[in-house]
């Protein structure tokens, strides 16, 4: 099953560099073994555009929909048997140390 892994910043990152894995290693381990389908870094949250339609009118907002100190800075779509496998992949990502990762299982609409 698929999991969305949001890669986020965190206000209290790990201060030590010891034991932090290299992103190249993580990509090789994860993508080469088919445990992730796609992923990318995202442009800064300050460049986000929020879109809403209210009363038939298009409303655009400059910036993310919620002002928070932790922001999503990238994502990966994982292909895992279960949450434990997804946690194993997430814990070996450098941003588990420098930031935080949020795992959400896909809940398919089957449209």
């Amino acid at each position: 099953m698929k999991f969305m892994m949001f890669v986020c910043t965190d206000t209290e990152p790990e201060t030590s560099e010891a034991g932090v894995p290299a992103i190249e290693q993580w990509v090789a381990d994860t993508y080469d073994k088919g445990r992730a389908v796609m992923g990318e870094r995202l442009a800064p949250a300050t460049t986000a555009t929020t879109v809403r339609v209210r009363g038939g009118e298009l409303l655009l907002t400059d910036g993310p929909f919620a002002e928070t100190t932790e922001v999503i800075c990238g994502f990966d779509i994982l292909e895992c048997a279960d949450l434990d496998e997804a946690i194993e992949i997430a814990r070996s990502h450098p941003m588990a140390y420098h930031g935080r990762l949020e795992l959400r299982a896909f809940d398919p609409l089957n449209l």
């Binding site: 099953m1 048997a81 279960d82 949450l83 434990d84 946690i87 795992l103 959400r104 299982a105 809940d107």
Partner: protein, 392 residues
């Protein structure tokens, strides 16, 4: 009859739920069918007598109930096939044990909040009614129902696996399971000074010990629970006030539990639960061997360097090597303002100071501790000690 049913129910509920979850993946179905089986037994056994194999009887009723439900829901064909296959494995064997272990590890998954883990374990593994869990957690029953539903929903939608982890993951996950069981043991003391779920916790610890014989900390936890629980009838006086160990009537101790706890110690390793069990074991001896107790506290501080453990270590050293040594270690434990305003720390300092002979300072400290405590019984006792200092 009621006792026979209660015993069979306690023993069977978790197994039935665990097995039905494995084959159907449906937590609500599993719980409903297990409850239905118990209700059927309550209805039939008083007239027909308790069957030779109550556990097997209950499992069969629950399984047939699951088949009925799934037959009606035609979309559940896969689950139905699995339950039909279940009839072949009537043997109450390792398979059942494995299922219960899977259920425990899933209920105690670290992706669930600690409160949810404790509640789910009580409800699903031990079969404790939701209302009773709600009372101990001091929430309304509908709140607890919602909490349990949310936890079960997370298990299925987040795809938390129904299995016991293996290899390095097991040693990472086992402490979390043990912590839930120990929290069950210590959580919510009743008016009799007995933890509300102590029996369930001990049953679980026993099960874990039996199912994971090569995990020393499982033995350590069981030993600790048994040794602490052995004093449950001696803990309070007639007025309900807590008694210290040397004030307790030792004939009220559960000597069978003590013997079982002591027998486990050689296999319990040297982890935190085992170390606390050794301390509890030393306290069953009379007179207490304080240098031995102090030694175990040194080890516990190395494993769990918390201010409260350091405080207890200071007290033990005070008894073993004199009050001056105790006060030195207490000052270390207080470093950085830890334990400030914490009545047990102030009371310990007062006792050590009194033994050192400084009654004026001791009296002041007893009065400070009496101000700090929130327990009226404790305040009463501390003020009594302060007056004794004055009178001397």
């Amino acid at each position: 009859m009621k006792d026979a049913l209660a015993a069979a129910a306690q023993e069977s509920y978790g197994r039935i739920v665990a097995t039905l979850i494995r084959v159907t993946g449906d937590w609500d179905l599993a719980e409903d069918c297990a409850q239905e089986a118990l209700a059927t037994a309550l209805e039939k056994w008083p007239g027909e007598g308790v069957p030779a194999n109550p556990g097997g009887w209950l499992m069969t009723v629950a399984r047939n109930r699951a088949i009925d439900v799934l037959r009606r829901a035609t979309v559940e064909q896969r689950k139905l096939r699995e339950v039909l296959l279940l009839s072949a494995e009537a043997k109450e064997s390792e398979e059942w044990d494995d299922d219960r272990l899977r259920l425990i590890f899933t209920c105690c998954h670290p992706a669930l909040s600690l409160e949810a883990r404790v509640a789910l374990t009580l409800r699903t593994v031990c079969g404790v009614p939701t209302g009773e869990i709600a009372r101990v957690f001091l929430v309304a029953e509908p709140t607890m129902t919602r909490r349990l539903t949310r936890a079960k929903t997370k298990i299925s939608t987040a795809n938390i696996p129904y299995r016991v982890p293996s290899g390095p993951a097991l040693s990472e996950r086992l402490p979390g399971v043990l912590a839930v069981i120990y929290l069950l043991f210590t959580r919510g003391y009743t008016n009799d000074g007995e933890p509300a779920f102590a029996d369930e916790a001990i049953r679980l610890a026993r099960l874990l010990r039996r199912l994971m014989p090569d995990q020393p900390e499982a033995a350590g936890l069981l030993a600790l629970c048994l040794l602490q629980h052995s004093r449950r009838r001696a803990r309070r006086d007639a007025a309900g006030h807590l008694l210290t160990l040397d004030q307790q009537d030792r004939t009220l101790w559960d000597h069978e539990a003590i013997a079982s706890g002591l027998a486990l110690l050689p296999t319990a390793g040297r982890g935190a639960y085992a170390t606390q069990a050794h301390i509890a074991a030393e306290h069953t001896r009379s007179p207490a061997d304080w240098p031995a107790i102090a030694g175990w506290y040194d080890r516990l501080v190395a494993l769990q360097p918390t201010p409260v453990v350091r405080l207890n270590r200071a007290v033990a050293h005070g008894f073993a090597y004199g009050p001056a040594r105790g006060l030195d270690l207490l000052a270390e434990a207080r470093a950085g303002g830890a334990l400030d305003g914490y009545a047990p720390a102030t009371a310990a300092e007062a006792e050590l100071t009194a033994r050192l002979g400084d009654r004026i300072r001791a009296e002041l400290l007893f009065r400070t501790a009496a101000d700090e405590t929130t327990s009226p019984a404790e305040r009463h006792a501390l003020l009594g000690r302060a007056t004794e200092m004055e009178d001397a």
